[in-house]
Amino acid sequence: MAVPEQPPGPGADGPVDDAFADEGERSAAALDADEAAASGAAAEPGGTSGPPGPPPAPSQGGEGWYDEAAGPVVRPYALTGGRTQYDGHDLDMVALIETADEPEDPGHVHGLHRGGREAALDPEHEMILSLCRTPLSVVEIASDLELPLGVVRVLLGDLLDRSLVRVRRPAPVAQFPGERVLKEVIDGIRAL
């Protein structure tokens, strides 16, 4: 397998993906060494032909990915029971989330819509419902809750499953903004 020997850069996600795709059997051991893998295939170009080596020292290959600037090493998905993604909704980071209209009974028991599997909502779910009474973007929710985007997406998925929130996706015009939209943006910025 040819792994480009270059530092992560534009498109570096490609080599990383390839590295994993070609090593389907790498699982447990590789996951232990995922720091090495995540730092870019360049950090461990020979990882395919032998057992995964130890994560490279930060000095190898120019940079480690877990230096001080990377922030603390955390386990953010404990909140979601280890779930890292939510199937069914591809939530754009600037999609607006809005709490669905409250049921009459404030003591409404959430979570019975899926076979009663879910227990009551977690505090984080409740915080999202509270925040999104005024529509708020996914990134703003994440910022307010001080949780990673991915974690917030999972939590939002839970709420979407239960129809407790609605998504207002960024309009498709975001990709093909019309003149009117762009002029509004310009006028709006001018008026700041």
């Binding site: 940079e63 991915g150 903004p177």
Partner: protein, 202 residues
């Protein structure tokens, strides 16, 4: 379903959020630019680098895994008619390109800030947006004592297409920062017309 709101929130199907990116090397003034135009104190959000982020779809071992985070600063500008403009500073570290793809998805365009004393710092950003076909402009941030290079010199050094605006700015100054964004959006409009002459009639 619409209820009365006390703030200028997007309403109905016209609800629209748009995104502009601010890229450039470390310490070039990305967050300062975001701050200058944002109606709120710039917010910070984080994304955790997980196997999802790098394209792996195996959640079985996540609970026991460690990861790291990448921080993004962003500001918000609520425009008339419910439009909400988000201005995102891109993560500075090269290893976080995975985040750029998500940021760039659906973005209108980008400002690449340049400090002429460290011109090379902006190369990866310029390369990225060129490859992605995302409209961008160059903002030459004028640091004290850095005003030694003209826009044309920067354009030459970056080997930019002649249609890409290169403007001097001081991102600490709100008016200057606004002009940078306006220049970008005007460039986006021109880019659309070039690509598809009928684009603006939609």
């Amino acid at each position: 379903m619409e209820s009365v709101r006390s703030d200028p929130s997007p309403q109905g199907d016209s609800a629209l959020t748009v995104k502009i990116l601010v890229a450039g090397g470390f310490g070039v003034g990305k967050t300062t630019l975001v701050s200058a135009v944002s109606e709120i104190r710039p917010l910070r959000t984080e994304e955790a680098l997980t196997e999802r982020s790098i394209g792996i779809d195996d959640t079985s071992a996540v609970a026991g895994k460690t990861t790291t985070t990448v921080a993004m600063d962003f500001g918000r500008i609520t425009l008339p008619n419910g439009l909400v403009l988000f201005v995102f500073g891109t993560p500075g570290q090269d290893r976080f390109w995975f985040m750029w793809d998500e940021l760039a998805k659906g973005a209108l365009g980008a400002v690449v800030l340049v400090d002429t004393r460290r011109l090379a710092d902006c190369f990866p950003s310029v390369d990225y947006f060129e490859r992605r076909g995302l409209p961008f402009i160059i903002g030459v941030n004028q640091f004290d004592g850095s005003g030694l290079h003209t826009a044309d010199q920067v354009r030459d050094a970056l080997d930019l297409s002649p249609d890409i605006p290169v403007i001097s700015c001081d991102v600490r100054d709100r008016e200057s920062a606004k002009q940078v964004l306006i220049t970008l959006v005007e460039h986006i409009m021109r880019s659309m017309v070039r690509r598809d002459p009928g684009a603006l009639t939609r």
